[in-house]
Symmetry: D2
Subunit: 336 residues, 4 copies
């Protein structure tokens, strides 16, 4: 069935090493996030990112994004983000819920990357008075909602604008692993070294069961983030089972290996798509032109994927689908 | 180590059958709560409770309580509850967060059971005008925060008051299994048959990893509860792994067997405590008088538990601690 | 000084009849909105609008808009509105505050009128699932933020879309009087007869001191609106002084006479502006092309107005500035 | 009719000097709080309180209390206050609304004064962990809801506890003028010199139309309070009319003269009440034992007042009721 599931990496299986880590964590330890595994995460991420990090885990990317953003903005402020960002389009308003009503100010840009000029113009157009909502943070997604990867220099441009305007920079990294695998750089290079203040580091799509890390580079910088997590109902009593997943994903860079596998599968599909591609394939998602008849034909062959507006479809390759596993779909696409 | 851990059932291990269910769920299915396991829960609970139920799962009791209550009250209304209820004392204000600022109106009563007369007096004292917050729900906890069990007739008294005042009745069942095991009645008898509208049915303390069910008897009665879950970041992409835990707990009444084991362990401890007991032991918690010297002596022997104010301690027996497992502590208590 | 103040009708004087009504209200009556004047408003507006109305007064348009919209949408829903609407641009997020985090979904359209086709496309693009925010209301402004007037037939088009999608239709009528004066129609024609469910009827800009009416056609349709007003701190203890202003504005159609005066002044200016006009002048606002040198010249002559981006300015005529009072500015504009 | 109205000072008339100030303010000035009158308030209060003050005006005490408290606490924190405080009992949850869900932790104490020992015990009982709501402010009311007056030394005791626990101290001064008039001290003595951080200084009950000042001693200490005011819909476009009322009340200490008149009236009534009095009469409110028959008798004579539970009533004297004006009621009480 992995050879037919292309609707989302959301539904992928859990990596055996994660399952083993869950079994290993099934012993007595203390509750909530006081356990040894949870307590080890700050050091583990600090090592991975080559700088002091403060970590909190939550079960979903929606929670990670919302809690970080609510920590960065007050209710009367705003987050600047792309108009097709997941936080705008697919979280049922969770950032507004967690922040107590902060606004999302949306910006255009190709491939769901914020256009830097549009960002500057938007900032310039906001009067500095109490009538207008003032932004306090920018959120970018890496890889983007269209599978494009922000490079360190591109992030640096946004970060410089953010710094100049006194804004915090958040990265939604639901597919951060895929972005890093694509870039071949150090995780630090696309985050704090490029000016990112906090990262939602997603593991669930990439082989974990339900585990996302909120990574604050240099610390979360103030009270509140733990209270937000608790009030959201995200302080699990047996938290060690989330921490265990994350530790397993970090061990021997499993996160990177899984992302590479998914990216490789996407490249194999991309080769078969040719001019159907609507965006460059830089991570594990493909957006392809597909007529209704073609889509029906693929579905008749068992392939499962989402339509993306009229005449287009989204194909997502998961960590458990390497180039071999995507071969049938590649063949079917080539044969259309 | 299970022979020394008495600070909370929060930190208990996960039952092997639940671990097996997680492994079995590690195959391709659709995302969120569209999978077969999640979709099977309405029927499973409807069968268990002998009435049509609508079910949503979340990972924590705090989320379950808050979402149900936020579904029952509007921001300008209130929930009536005991002054020592978990929702008041231990959830960092999560019900106010989810409900958009609804109030908790607290009531006294022995053993953390709401006193019915105090409830009636409180309701009578509220002017029906726009200046005063109007209650819209009552929340009771079964078993209570002091390990007492609400009997069907006692619940009926509260439910009748609720009905008379147009209030919904919620039961925080973080230890619902222990209450039912203690009463020996049908789950329906202490819930909807007694007038309960919705139940937070806890599995995490009782052998699951992270799984709580929101059970709406006769349906949730209106839009919003799924949106609240989503906005809270509790719609897991691999939701089948929570549903799998719940199904495992329901299979062959594992929930009941586990609760009986914990209750039996508590009874064994209770026998050793004699006149130290501050409350009747009806579920799996004991509150005992213990001097600082005695507490230190027990801790020196390796036993781990919480102080409960001065001169008192709380002992909690978990599902993985049967009478045999609690024998060392029972002996130590008897020897004090 | 009225001959130089063109920056906003916000700062206009209070009509003598309103001042007299305040003096007349300065006698003993009961508190809050239980007084005779407040209690008379439902009937007064029902008569004016030729249908049963439910009225609440508040001191600001921001409060009126926010409370109506918060009454129409739940926190997880959205209001569709123009991207330059006052509720988006100039209320510091008050609608999100009152609604508990509901979103504003913005739409384009010339002259700050929502484009009906864009509205339809936006609605069609929203998946009916829990991940995406679902709209529950549409808000239009009459006269618009660019001084254009929605005609009954134009409103009808929006209302039909609203009805088809199950949305409530709100009209921000901060300058409703100017719109009605411009159209020469009955107030009913541009409100409930055209499909509007509730109106923020502004009096403050039009001769009152601080008085806005929330007008619910056919009733507010559910509990909550009074609680929202009270929680917002808008239930004044001496509410009769707001109601008195509104009654004075309704008496002998003072609201209409004042609006006609302002509109006439705007027409006199418009004639002097010629091709400088960026939008048709249909109410009491003008948007004109003006170089920095020209703007400086006018300001040197004492005229006070806002720049509106580069090379443009906004001129607003108030009720206390008739054609004669605007003559100096008209002459200065013509002389540029 | 002033001789019969004793249900609340809420409904009192507006002092002629305030009406004159409104008339005088009816000229062109800029909008919102940029006008000369609003801008003069910081200096006026700084002079009155003999220290640097930052002032914002709002139309209601509910708004003043809620905005100050929301400025002092974050959503996950709490305000400690008396269980019969106006913010608990009579504001429909406005503090929770403005603060985004902060809790009110209630304390007992005679005459609606917080008992200092109960306060200390409550603070000592709160675990410093993320599960329990942490208080961030204390609110006291002067004069209290039972007409008692906090003396500087009593406030100092509370303030010292507040300082020790890192809490801000707020004073609800809906009847602050009556308290100061009663004490005969400087306004500074019962506020910042005693440790108060911010005061809701009420003018509406004491001769204004609709005007309350939020007084921050030493400044509001951080961004947000103006945004809260704006988001609440309390930034009036013609704000000069609120500022004018406040300036009139401060001129020649009208606030003090009015309060003295009301207090004197209350003393005259108190003399007539004798042993009926349930609390000392220190400001302008009386709480008296009154049978249903006696209450009916007074009402039959035209006197208007509130029952206060069974067998008791509240009598409030307003600024426009001096000793002479209360003579008929005094006589009627004496004749019972």
């Amino acid at each position: 069935m992995t050879a037919t599931r292309f609707f989302s990496d959301n539904a992928a299986t859990v990596h055996p090493a994660v399952m083993e880590a869950l079994a290993a964590a099934n012993r007595v330890d203390t509750a909530y996030d006081g356990d040894k595994l949870s307590q080890s995460l700050d050091a583990a991420f600090s090592s991975l990112f080559d700088t002091a990090c403060e970590i909190l885990w939550v079960p979903t990317g929606t929670a990670a994004n919302s809690i970080i953003l609510a920590h960065f903005v007050r209710p009367w402020q705003a987050v600047l983000c792309h108009e097709e960002a997941h936080i705008v389009v697919d979280e049922c308003g969770a950032p507004a819920f967690y922040s107590g009503g902060a606004a999302l100010m949306t910006l255009p840009g190709p491939g769901a990357k914020i256009d830097a000029e549009a960002l500057k113009a938007r900032l310039a157009g906001i009067r500095k008075d109490v009538h207008q909502i003032q932004p306090a943070a920018i959120s970018i997604t890496n890889a983007t909602e269209y599978g494009l990867v922000w490079r360190p220099d591109e992030i640096g441009v946004i970060a410089e604008i953010a710094r100049g305007a006194g804004l915090r920079l958040h990265m939604d990294g639901a597919r951060f692993a895929n972005a890093v695998a694509s870039l071949g750089c150090a995780p630090a290079d696309v985050t704090w070294r490029a000016g990112v203040d906090a990262l939602s580091f997603g593991f669930t799509k990439n082989g974990a069961m339900t585990a996302e890390a909120m990574v604050f580079f240099g610390g979360s910088g103030g009270a509140g983030v733990r209270e937000l997590k608790k009030r959201g109902g995200h302080l699990l009593s047996k938290g060690r089972f989330v921490a265990a997943q994350i530790r397993a994903m970090l061990t021997d860079d499993l996160w990177l290996a899984n992302a590479r596998a998914a990216n490789a599968g996407a490249q194999a599909l991309a080769a078969a798509c040719g001019t159907r591609l609507m965006h460059a394939v830089e991570a594990n998602e493909l957006f392809v032109r597909l007529t209704a008849v073609e889509a029906a034909s693929l579905r008749a062959q068992g392939f499962d994927f989402y339509d993306w507006g009229e005449g287009a479809a989204r194909l997502v390759v998961s960590w458990d689908q390497d180039a071999a596993a995507v071969a049938p779909l590649a063949a079917a696409l080539a044969a259309l």
